[in-house]
C-alpha cells in the first residue's frame, strides 16, 4: 500500500484522498488495457515487419556496404591516422542512408575525392530497409515526412513569404558553395558542391540535416525545420519561374557570359566583317566605268 500511495502521490499532490491512489491505479489499468486491446495486433505486426525490415536491411548491408563500412557498420580505418576506408555508421540515422543511397552516391563504385551522384541502384523499399538497419545501430535523424519539406499546406500568402524568406536564407547559407542559381561550385582538392537543379526536396532536407561529404551540418538549432522548408520552397520556385532573361548559359555567372561574348559576339561579328569585306556595294558592274 505504501508503494501504491507513493505512486499516487507522484501523480497528484493535491488529491490525496484515501481512495485516490486506488482510483488512479484502476483508471490507468483500464486505459492501458483498452489501448492494448485496440492497438496490440497492429503493434505486433509492425514490430514483426520492422524486425524483418532490419534483417532484410542487414542482408543488403552485408552484401553492398560492409566492405567499406564494416560488418556491423563500425567503419574501417586505414593505417594512416584519421583516414577511413568507410566511416562508422552508428548514429548517422535513417536520413543519411536515404540521402546517400537515394541519390545514388552510395554504394560507391570507386574511391575518389567525393562520391558522385549517379543512377540509384536500390529500390525505395530496399533503401528503407537499409535505412532501418542503420538506424537500429544508434539514434540519428529520421527520414523527414513530406509535411516537413513541402509548403503545400500553407496559404498563398504564407507560401509567398516562405519563398522570399527561403531565398534570403539560401543566399546567406548556401550560395557560397552551391552558387546563386544552385548550379554548384568548386571545393578544395577536386571536391565540389553539386548542382541542386533536380534534387528532390526530401534529399535537400536530409542533406541539410546530415551534412553529407564536405557539406556542413545544418542542425535544427542552426536552421529551424521551417527555415529548411523555406529554402526548399525557394529552390522549387526558381526552378518553376520561367527564365525571363533567356538562356541561362549554365547559370555560372560572368565566366560563361564572357565565353559567350567572345564566341558568339566577337566570333559572329568577325564572320560578319569577313562577309562585308568580301562583297562590294555596287549593284551593277557597268557603273564602275562611269
Amino acid at each position: 500500500m505504501r508503494l501504491l500511495n507513493r505512486t499516487a502521490g507522484r501523480l497528484s499532490r493535491h488529491r490525496r484522498g484515501p481512495l485516490a491512489g486506488l482510483v488512479v491505479l484502476l483508471l490507468g489499468l483500464l486505459i492501458s488495457g483498452s489501448l492494448y486491446t485496440a492497438l496490440a495486433p497492429a503493434q505486433a505486426d509492425t514490430q514483426a515487419s520492422e524486425t524483418e525490415q532490419v534483417a532484410h536491411g542487414k542482408k543488403l548491408f552485408l552484401a553492398s556496404c560492409a566492405f567499406c563500412h564494416g560488418k556491423n557498420g563500425e567503419g574501417i580505418p586505414t593505417v594512416r591516422d584519421g583516414y577511413q576506408i568507410g566511416p562508422p555508421l552508428a548514429g548517422v540515422g535513417a536520413a543519411a542512408v536515404d540521402f546517400q543511397v537515394g541519390t545514388g552516391r552510395m554504394p560507391l563504385t570507386q574511391p575518389g575525392q567525393q562520391a558522385p551522384r549517379k543512377p540509384v541502384v536500390f529500390s525505395q523499399e530496399e533503401i528503407d530497409a537499409l535505412a532501418a538497419y542503420v538506424a537500429s545501430l544508434g539514434p540519428g535523424p529520421a527520414i523527414p515526412d513530406e509535411s516537413d519539406y513541402s509548403i503545400e499546406g500553407l496559404s498563398e500568402e504564407e507560401r509567398q513569404e516562405a519563398i522570399s524568406r527561403g531565398g534570403q536564407i539560401f543566399l546567406t547559407n548556401c550560395t557560397a558553395c552551391h552558387n546563386f542559381n544552385g548550379a554548384g561550385g568548386a571545393m578544395p582538392r577536386g571536391g565540389y558542391a553539386p548542382n541542386l537543379h533536380d534534387v528532390e526536396g526530401k534529399h535537400i532536407y536530409e542533406a541539410l540535416l546530415t551534412g553529407p561529404q564536405q557539406m556542413p551540418n545544418f542542425s535544427n538549432g542552426n536552421l529551424t525545420p521551417e527555415e529548411k522548408r523555406d529554402v526548399i520552397a525557394y529552390l522549387g520556385s526558381i526552378r518553376e519561374t520561367p527564365e525571363y532573361a533567356g538562356f541561362t548559359l549554365g547559370g555560372l555567372g560572368p565566366v560563361s557570359e564572357g565565353l559567350f561574348a567572345w564566341v558568339v559576339g566577337i566570333g559572329g561579328l568577325v564572320v560578319g566583317s569577313v562577309w562585308i569585306a568580301s562583297h562590294t556595294t555596287r549593284s551593277k558592274k557597268s557603273k564602275v566605268n562611269a
Partner: protein, 588 residues
Amino acid sequence: MSSDSRLDTSKVATTNGTTAATASKPGRAGSLATWADDRLGLATAMKKNLRKVFPDHWSFMLGEIALWSFVVLLLTGVFLTLWFNPSMGHITYEGSYDQLRGVGMSESMASTLHISFDVRGGLLMRQMHHWAAMIFIASMMVHLLRVYFTGAHRKPRELNWVIGCLLLLLGTLEGFTGYSLPDDLLSGTGVRAADGFLKATPVVGTYMSFLLFGGEFPGEAVIPRLYIIHVLLIPGILLALIAAHMLLLVYHKHTQWPGPGRTEQNVVGFPMLPVYAAKAGGFFFMVFGVIAIMGGLMSINPVWKFGPYDPTKVTAGSQPDWYMGWPDGLLRIIPSNWESVIFGYTISWNVMIPILIVPPLMLVLLMLLPFIEGWITGDNRDHHLLQRPRNAPTRTGVMVALMTFYGLAWAAGGNDIIAIKLDLSINQITYFMRVAIFLGPLVAFWITRRWCISLQRHDNEKLLHGYETGIITRSPEGQYAERHLPIAEKAAYTLTARDRDEVLSVEAGADSAGVPAPGSRAQRLRARLSEWMHGHNVQKPTAAELEAAHHHAEHQAELQSGLDHPVDGHDFDDHRLRDADEVPLREH
C-alpha cells in the same frame, strides 16, 4: 576614256556638245544642299572627305565593331538612365519579382529590378547594354592585336596606338563602374574587393578607400559617385579620345596591304561615298543586330537571382566581367602568404603584385611597344604598307607571348568553373598556373617565332621554285619528283613587297685607347636587341637569286617541252582520257 563610257551629264546639265553646259534647275534636295552649303561651307569639307579612299580588308573592320558597339552603349545607356535611381537609400522591394518581394534593398537595386521586370523592354535594354559592353572591350582588344600583328603601330601611328591603349583602359574602368551600379550581391562583392585593393596600397590605402566611399565601406556615397563617373566622366573622355583616334586615322590615312600598285605614297581602295558609307552603315546594323539577338536570347547578369548586396553573403562563381578576369586570376594563383611586416605595417604583396603592380605595368608596356620597337630598329620612316605577321617573327612572338600570359591569367580567374566543368582539382589548376604563367609565354614565343620563320622560308621557296602543283612525275630512271610551277607575277610582287631587315651594329665601340665612346653602352644594347629581333629572320631573295631560279625553271621547262597544252597532271604518265581508236596504250 572611250566615248561610249563618257559620263552621262544629261540629268544635271544641258549641252549640245558645242556650247558650254548650263546647269539645270536643282531639285528639292539640291536646293536644300545649296542652302546649307551657303551657310556652313559643307561642300568644301565634304568634297574631299566623301571621296576619301579606304582600303578593303576584313581585318580593318574590327575597330569598327568597337565603334558601333559604343554607339549601342550610348543608345541603351540613355534608355536605362531614364529609370535607374543611383541611390543607396534603403527601401523594401514591392515590385513584380515574387522571390524578392518584401526584401530590403537599396534604391539602385530596386530600380534595376524595376527596369528588368516592370519597364517595357527594360530587361532587353539592360542585357543589350551589358552584352554591348562585353563586345566593346573585346573588339578593342581584337583590333589592337590586328594593328600590332600587321605593324600598323609603327611611325607615324605611335600616338594613335597610345590613344587606343587609353581607350582600352577607360573602357575597362567604365565597364567596372557600370557593373557595380545595380548594388546586387555579385557587384557588391566586386566593390568590396576593389575596396580591399585600395586598402592594400601602402601608406595611402585607407585614405583612398575613405575618399572613395566617403567613410567606411560601404557607406551611402559610392553608388552615386560611381554613377556620375559611369554616365558622365568616363563617357566624355571616351568620346573625346574616340574622336581623336578617328581624326588621326583620317589624317594618317588608313594602312593597306602591299600589292601591285600599292605604295607608301598612295591608298588603293574604294571611296567613302558610296562604298564605305554603305559598308560601315550596314556593319552598324549588323553589330546592333548581333547585340540585340544576344540581349534578347541570352541571360546576362541576372541580378534578381543574386539578390541585394549584403556583406554577410557571397556566391560561388563570384567573378568580375571577363575584362577584369586576368588580374583576378593572378590574385587567385599568387601564394596567399606573401606578406611582409615593416615597422608594424603589413605589406600585402599577395594583393599588390597581382592588382596594383602587374596590370599597370602591363598597360605601360603595351603603350611603349611601338616606341621600344622604333628604338631597336632605328627606323625613322613612315609606314603605310602593312606587314604580314610572319615577316616580323620576333614582334609576332612577343605579342603571342603576351597573349599567352594574358590567357593563362584569364583562365586562372575562372579556375573554379574550370574545376567543376572539367572534373579537376582547383588546387592542381593553381599549381599548374603558377608554373605555366612563367613558362607558357616563353614557350609560346619560341614556337611562334620558329613558325613565322618557317613560313618565311616557305614564301622564299614559292618565289624561287614556284608553288607545289601536286603533280608527281617519275623519270625514266625511276626517280620521283614533284613538279613546281612559277607563281603569278602579282603574287610574286606581293610576296617581295617588303623591306629587308637590317641588323644594327655598334658604330665605333671604343677609340684606339680602348675608351668606350659616349653612349656606346646603349648602342651595344641596341645592337644586341636588333640581332635578337632580326638576326633569325629569312630575307627575301635578291634579284640575282630570283634570276638564277628562273633560269633553272626555264631549263626544267625545256626538258619537259613538247607539250602543246596546259599541264593537267597526266602529261608524264599514261592516264589521260583518250578515245579507244587513238594511239594504243603504251605497254609497260
